[in-house]
């Protein structure tokens, strides 16, 4: 039964891959969306029948034997259950939305095939019971993001962005692969539950190996989750279709890293040094991401950087030792970020794929529906107090930070302030002020339904906080009114500031992601190209050329000595005879 979850989107992919040339557009859309939605229904069916699986009642299903004793199998526990609901629900909503968004695209079959494969890979990643299968999903996600980011490959920069995304995440993947090799070396198995149960005992004697393993896993997660130092691909990836960005940011791809760390958290919690590192990476990315978001003029790029910073917040939660709050924030983030991207897509459709916020404004009057859903999403992103789910999930992490260290809490508050600042700067620039365009686009129900569902979920999730957290096994830490109020205050101040000074943020350096791109160009890309250019003609050929010339030279020498004149030969013979005799006499 469990295999159906990835198998349904996979079959959708296979049908579309082989037969999309023979199907009409409507049927393609139905298969593309339907296969994902069926997978969502299957997940719900599974949960209704079995209840939410816990650590002890986790569902296991072995498909086939890979290389004995390694099996290809799935594992369905609390985290993977939560992930599969979120992934399938959001993906089916995004797919439904795409039906109108991609209406004018000729290649809709390829689009839905890739989306289906994307979801399939993500579900394999989520459900895998061993790291090797997880890695298969992991790389599958990378491949699909490559294909989808470069979907409009004729567009300037799309190919480069796709390649960049693939290679940057590949660097992370390679470290994950090394981490797997290390785990296999230590435990002689890759089955996640098995090595996690062996880890505490192992850590007593081999602390350094466990730390190394945790750091390698982190390095893998950093690539996919677009954290520093491998975050550079994410802003460029915005060149793909907007629903794809929604998918990448909310349900698949970037959340994979958070999932990996939450999944192997038992191992990571044994390595305090690695945990510190996760905390540092998360905090640094959060601040850098929200600063960069503040200086963007492209609507989608604001959202891209905000994802970076929100994932950074989740990493912080993991670093603080609370995977449950990270997963909770992941859930709320998935909904509101999908909501934001999809409503940004509506704005883009209305303005003929124009995403520059400086050219927007005053849209509140002409697009009231979009405004409402967008403001719900923005409220959740900036954690507007007491109303939104985002507030509850962020608050949890801040409490964790407070109990860890006051400094970390301060960074969290700063992040909250910046988040609210850039969010409402965005809202102010897009929806208020002077209207600059005439809008004729009217979203149809296929666009409205996903937006409404997502907006509803974004609000409703806040009310399910306690039950969700108890499923995740969250241990509540004491909180006080001052704590909550100060976080709320940071948000509100940020919001108010945004409306006053939203035009004040112009800085090329920060807007370009604080120079990471230029740095990597200088220290990696350019030297790499230079070496390749240097070696282009294969310098080793010269060895053989030299050998050839030497042989040719000897040949000419001997050839020249063959003069055919008797006196030359005689001279040589006599001279050498004398030389030989002379040598004999002398020695």
């Amino acid at each position: 039964m469990l295999f159906l979850l990835p198998a349904l989107p996979l079959s959708g992919f296979l049908i579309l891959f082989f037969f999309s040339g023979f199907l009409c557009r409507r049927l393609i859309a139905i298969i593309g969306v339907g296969s994902i939605f069926l997978s969502f229904l299957a997940t719900m069916f599974l949960i209704l029948n079995l209840g939410i699986p816990t650590e002890s009642s986790a569902l296991k299903e072995i498909l086939w034997s890979f290389i004995p004793p390694m099996n290809i199998g799935f594992h369905f526990d609390t985290i993977s259950c939560l992930m599969s609901i979120v992934v399938t629900l959001i993906s089916s909503l995004v797919a439904l939305y795409s039906v109108q968004f991609m209406e004018e695209d000729a290649d809709i079959g390829r689009y839905f095939a890739c989306i289906d494969l994307f979801v399939c890979a993500m579900l394999i990643l989520v459900l895998a019971d061993n790291l090797l299968l997880l890695f298969a999903g992991w790389e599958g996600v990378g491949l699909c993001s490559y294909l989808l980011i470069g979907f409009w490959y004729q567009k300037a920069g799309a190919r480069e962005a796709a390649t960049k995304a693939f290679i940057t995440t590949r660097i992370g993947d390679v470290f994950l692969l090394l981490g797997m090799a290390l785990i296999f070396f230590c435990f002689n198995t890759l089955e996640i539950s098995v090595f996690l149960s062996m880890a505490p005992k192992f850590a007593v004697e081999h602390q350094s190996l466990i730390t190394l393993a945790a750091i390698l896993l982190l390095a893998g997660a950093v690539g996919k989750s677009a954290q520093i130092p491998l975050q550079v691909w994410l802003p460029d990836a915005m060149i793909g279709p907007t629903p794809v960005s929604a998918l990448i940011h909310a349900a698949t791809m970037v959340t994979a890293g958070v999932y990996l760390l939450a999944r192997t958290f038992t191992l990571i919690s044994l390595a305090p040094m690695a945990q510190e590192l996760i905390l540092f990476v998360g905090a640094f990315t959060m601040i850098l991401g929200s600063l960069s978001a503040l200086f963007q003029n492209d609507l989608k790029k604001v959202l891209a950087y905000s994802t970076m910073s929100q994932i950074g917040l989740m990493f912080m939660a993991l670093g603080l030792g609370s995977p449950s709050s990270a997963m909770f924030h992941f859930t709320t983030h998935a909904f509101f970020k999908a909501l934001l991207f999809l409503s940004a897509g509506v704005i883009g459709l209305s303005l003929h794929h124009q995403y520059d916020m400086r050219k927007m404004g005053g849209l509140v009057r002409v697009m009231p529906f979009t405004f409402i859903v967008f403001i719900i999403g923005s409220g959740a992103l900036s954690a507007l107090p007491f109303l939104t789910a985002g507030f509850f999930s962020k608050e949890l992490i801040l409490i964790e930070a407070y109990h860890n260290n006051l400094f970390h809490w301060g960074i969290g508050i700063l992040g909250a302030f910046l988040t609210s600042l850039y969010t409402f700067r965005m809202v102010a620039m897009v929806f208020f002020g002077q209207q600059k365009h005439h809008i004729s686009f009217r979203p149809s129900w296929v666009i409205k339904i996903p937006l409404v569902v997502l907006a509803f979920a974004t609000i409703a999730l806040g009310f399910f906080e306690t039950s969700l957290l108890s499923f995740l096994g969250h241990i509540h830490k004491s909180s006080s009114k001052t704590l909550v109020l100060s976080a709320a205050l940071a948000t509100v101040i940020g919001m108010l500031c945004a409306f006053v000074i939203h035009n004040a943020f112009n800085n090329k350096f920060i807007a370009k992601g604080c120079g990471f791109d230029a740095l990597y160009q200088a220290i990696i890309v350019r030297p790499y190209n230079a070496i390749a250019h240097l070696l282009k003609r294969d310098p080793l050929v010269r060895i053989y050329r030299a050998l050839y010339s030497f042989i040719l030279f000897m040949h000419v020498l001997l050839y020249r000595s063959q003069t055919g004149r008797l006196r030359h030969y005689l001279t040589v013979i006599i001279a050498s005879a004398i030389a030989v005799m002379g040598l004999m006499v002398l020695s």
Binding site: L132, L177, L178
Partner: protein, 471 residues
Amino acid sequence: MILPLLIFLPLFGGLFCFFIRRDIFAWAYSLIIVLIEFLLLFFSYQKGISEFRTPWIEEWGLYFNLKLDGLAIVFIALSYLMAFIAIISSKEQFDRPGFYFGNMLFLISGVNGILLASDLLLFFIAWEAMILPLYFLVLFWGHGDKRPVAMQFFIFTQSSGLIMLAAIIGLYFLAYVQTGIFSFDKEILSHVILDEKLEITLCLGFLIAFLVKLPACPLHIWIANLFCSSPTGALLVGIMVKTGAYAIIRFIFDLFPNASVALAPIMISIGLFSVFYGSFLAYAQNDIRKILAYSTVSHMGLVLIALFCHHEGAHLGAIILILASGISTGSLLLLFSELKRFDINEIGGIFAVLPKMGAVTIFLVMASIGLPIFGNFVGEWFIIAGAFATNKVLALFIALALVTGAIYYLRLLKLLLFGKVKGTEGINELSKTRLFLYGGLISALLFMGLYPKPILSVLYMKDSSKEGTYD
């Protein structure tokens, strides 16, 4: 009795093929022979490990000894698969078809000789005999400036083969001095006691010949030119390349156990150098076929590293990688031979014009990059896990090779598939037959990647010392 048939059927079949005039007959004839060979291989596989011994020139201690075990079966199956594809895809061979297909059959015979021989002189004869048909294939049916290319290839392989011959004869006489019998038998020669320096010298003599075929830097020069000039049939180049790795597994480790350990650091360095040198060169090339050639250098460097890690898992990974990259690179070579232009500045944007060809390319390139679910990844994973157990820094370098590999392959995709549409005139979209062919090859890669157990059971068949499997 099946084993000699594996060698002699294509040999005499190839001779007979010379006299066939009509292209379609020659084509069908050679196809049938390959299929019969497949069946023969299958029969002998069911019998388990088999041996064939008969004296040849007894005074010199020369025996016609053949041995078929799991490793040989897997390699022979791969060579048949490649030969099958090469023959199928050269149906439109109008120029001297009899001679063309005859040469292909000769090549199969030679490769089988290499893979089956357990007598060193027989092995050497097969090793040299295999070069000739390939030389002719390039010389008569090659593209471009083929004469010097064929010559270069011939000189490289022939001269390195000569060094190996010297080493074989040296070993032969040492065996005579120690045991009093003349023999080229591998079993006997592997029991010769050698002092360290002598063992290393002899081992190097063998290794040079094998490294040329592998090919490892700096002995790789011939392969780029050969890939550019070879006709479709020289898909078999891929097979020939694999014999180098096979010979290392078969002969070096058994004959020179101490020297192979002593030489391991050097060989691993050569492997590492090949991996990265190949990657950089592949990244810098504009000729599509040269990219493939240097990617082969890079992959084989990885294989060389894995072999000299002296770790059972890494060996297994090397074998799987050889098989998988043989199929993936071979298929790419075949696929790109349908393009009319090979300079990446002159051709591009295939995906928009020829989507089927584009999709096949994406699959094959992703397999070559080492995406899981394809066979290549299984090999690479075992190599990394094995290398990690021996040396952690080495594993890091191998892992980095996966990044550099992705870089040059993605450059190829970016320019050839997704670039501006140009130079695609006159290229036909893949026909149904071709699609089935590539579909079959991709399925083979998927099968190896998703369910490698059968291959392992073949590799480890009826060998009590290695009963069970590696985990």
